[in-house]
Assembly symmetry: C2
């Protein structure tokens, strides 16, 4: 471990590799309308943190798998995340003009193309997962399970269900359990997916998948509460969008229900229980995942 | 073959079985917001022809596969078709208030829920395909190929690409090749998928998959030109939407470019070349697929 890169270098390296892979995500021989390709690329290149791909790669590497084998699934989860942002930003949903300091997809390409670019990104995510196997010998059974996981965790019982609950919550959320449901599904499920996908590529046992699910669930919830906190306190430039926007839109957040101090304590406690679960998974090398957990808790944007 | 059901009985039987399966498509133990389930069910139960599921089942059965093995993939393609209709009908797209004589999804549930119900249906289609294997022993390799096919044929280079081209075409289409691109992708690719998916479940060879692709491509184009024709001439009640709506919205159709008579001839010629391709596939029993080709050409709605 003497030549092990510092965490920020590791982070930058993976972010760079994922961004590069996403640039060429549509097969070149495909005949695709230019406006669609441009709309898909625009949001994929709009400068996200690439947290979910990072988790896929880190989980796979924790088992000793090659990074190459994890990249298609890493790109897949980023495509799903990106599609969800495009659709969330639509006038019928959050009606946001800016995201990460750039115009939202529908402001640049129009609503119809934005909807379809989202649809195409979601669809292409599944294509990308299959490529993991075609390119690097991940077993068909493992890939099918990844497809099944993504379809479950990104769908009605997962991310989309969380988004529906979020929208309905805006019309009068009454308790913390509702907010927890939203956070667990809208944000958490895709984080759980990322870890499990990487773990399956690495050849995890059922017990390890279970433990990593708990790790992801707690980490995801901590991440989202941290987001709630940063949205209230964060520096506008670092967040890349107007802070307090959730307050202005009367969005209900963790600090709204339990106060700022208890929310900060909750992030710490969830991060700790996430790390405990990670210990229980007994991975060959969990160090990067541990670093990621610490990094997420301490981030300021 | 003496106890072989007449075609209309066969058609009704499969339509009924698919509709029944779609009623219970979301696993009951899943915790899904009620409005989302209702919106998904509403459009799934809005009375489509179930043409695509029929093709999946008929293709699988042409190889001697059990119908049960094909049902999850049959439901998957209907979910994809249904999601595409929900998104097509949105105000930002075709802005339709009615579909098959019923209010469109967003008119009943609102735009945001309609977008998300579409997203969830698309996502769940992939879940359903994996269930084919879990339930009836289709090989993991075959299922992965079906996932890959669907992701390709329903995505940017397939159905979504066709929809983008269609929207752009409305702003000034100049030639038949553009319209052909739209028909081949917006409609044709999902028909091709249906046949290939059924064939993979049935254990088709590469050569048979090729031949069935041609069958589907020609059949899909014939189907869509027939739609163009019926939209200009059909009985309003049978079509379940205002006829001549495409003309009123200045949509460009086959008859617009080559005239009504040549369009009718083209449907016949394409149906014949589809049937020729079907012959070449040398299936154990192609008779139902042949009947479907004839049925599609002669339908009046």
């Amino acid at each position: 471990m003497s030549n092990r890169a510092p965490f920020d270098v590791y982070l930058q390296e993976i972010t760079g590799e994922v961004t590069e892979a996403l640039k060429h995500i549509l097969p070149e021989h495909w005949d695709v309308p230019r406006s669609l390709t441009e709309a898909m690329q625009y949001s994929l290149m709009a400068g996200g943190k690439r947290l979910r791909p990072l988790l896929v790669v880190a989980a796979a590497e924790a088992f000793g798998a090659e990074r190459k084998a994890a990249m298609p699934a890493a790109c897949a989860v980023e495509m799903v995340h990106t599609y969800s942002l495009i659709h969330d930003d639509l006038p019928a949903m959050d009606n946001d003009d800016y995201r990460r300091g750039k115009l939202t997809n529908h402001k640049v390409f129009g609503e119809a193309t934005a909807i379809l670019a989202g649809d195409a990104l979601l669809t292409h995510a599944f294509y990308s997962i299959v490529q993991s196997g075609r390119q690097s010998g991940v077993s068909a059974d493992a890939l099918l399970s990844i497809v099944e996981d993504l379809a479950e965790l990104a769908g009605a019982r997962g991310m989309v269900g969380g988004q529906v609950a979020d929208m309905e919550g805006e019309q009068g959320m009454t308790d913390l359990s509702q907010l927890q449901y939203i956070h667990l599904h809208k944000t958490g499920d895709l984080i759980v997916f990322s870890l499990i996908a990487g773990a399956r590529i690495g050849g995890a046992t059922e017990g390890q998948l279970e433990a990593l699910s708990v790790f992801g669930r707690d980490l995801g919830l901590a991440f989202q509460i941290q987001d709630d906190i940063l949205d209230l306190t964060g520096d506008e430039q670092k967040m890349g969008k107007k802070t307090q926007s959730d307050v202005n839109q009367q969005k209900v957040t963790y600090p709204y229900f339990i106060g700022m101090e208890a929310s900060i304590a909750e992030v710490k406690s969830l991060t700790q229980s996430a790390k405990d679960a990670l210990e229980r998974a007994e991975l060959p090398d969990a160090s990067r995942l541990m670093e990621i957990a610490d990094y997420l808790m301490s981030r300021d944007h």
